[in-house]
Amino acid sequence: MAKIIVACGSGVASSELVVKHISDFFEDHHITGVEVEATDFKKLPDILANYDIYVWIARPSEEIQQIVDDKNIASVNGLPIFTGQKPEISYKAIITALKRMQS
């Protein structure tokens, strides 16, 4: 089971919005067996290591980047999904990361 975490620094539910979009995308493309969850920056450092793909909509801090590098987590820019402008860029990166996990 692949696990994706989406993190934002904001109280405006940006990460929940991105989770919703990614889940819809998976459903539309019949992609199953992937968990997508949202969190905020405060909680992220403690839980990030449990995930395979990190979708960011606020710039990762050094601490976060360190965890990403150490644990070999795929890091994907989620802003195109958030703004709805060329979201396929992000989806492609997510799919690529999922495929890499399977190989």
Binding site: G9, G11, V12, A13, E16, A58, N77, L79, F82
Partner: protein
């Protein structure tokens, strides 16, 4: 919470004279405080959030910002629509690169779930040429309120 009711005629401020972000936020926070939407702590929370996580968003058509603070600084939910006479330098969400914004949607959120649709709506609207043209064209508060209410249906 119906997000349409978060738009209020009294929370539309067009062609505001502001020197910079700090000045603009001060003016807006003062109005929101006076009208009973936010707590004393709102202005500093707004600035802190903006410094930490910028809220600017750029589409092919327009640069906007969605300033907001944590729910504990808010008394009742609102969307406050502000346009400025001159562009204000802001930073883009996620990229932290500079943009010049003249349109600001201050989001007063008490429950995160309320605004999923609201955010989605904003993102769609700033990519709609007709909407962007209207934003630029309307200089009357009442007319802006009517227009936005219609668009947010």
């Amino acid at each position: 919470m119906d997000y349409q009711t978060m738009l209020k005629p009294e929370l539309i401020f067009l062609n505001v004279d502001a020197e910079d972000r700090i000045d603009l936020y001060q003016q807006v926070a003062k109005e929101l405080l006076k009208l009973g939407y936010v707590k004393d702590s709102y202005e500093s929370a707004l600035n802190q959030r903006e410094d930490e996580f910028p809220t600017g968003v750029v589409s092919d058509l327009i640069s906007i910002a969605l300033p907001h603070a944590n729910p504990e600084n808010i008394y009742k939910p609102f969307v406050c629509v502000v346009t400025t006479r001159k562009p204000i330098p802001m930073l883009q969400m996620g990229y932290n690169t500079e943009e010049q914004a003249k349109v600001f949607f201050f989001l007063g959120i008490t429950h995160a779930d309320d605004q999923l649709i609201l955010l989605q709506k904003f993102m769609a609207l700033i990519q709609d040429p007709i909407f962007v043209k209207h934003l630029d064209k309307i200089h009357d508060n009442a007319e802006m309120f009517t227009y936005l209410t219609k668009e947010f249906k």
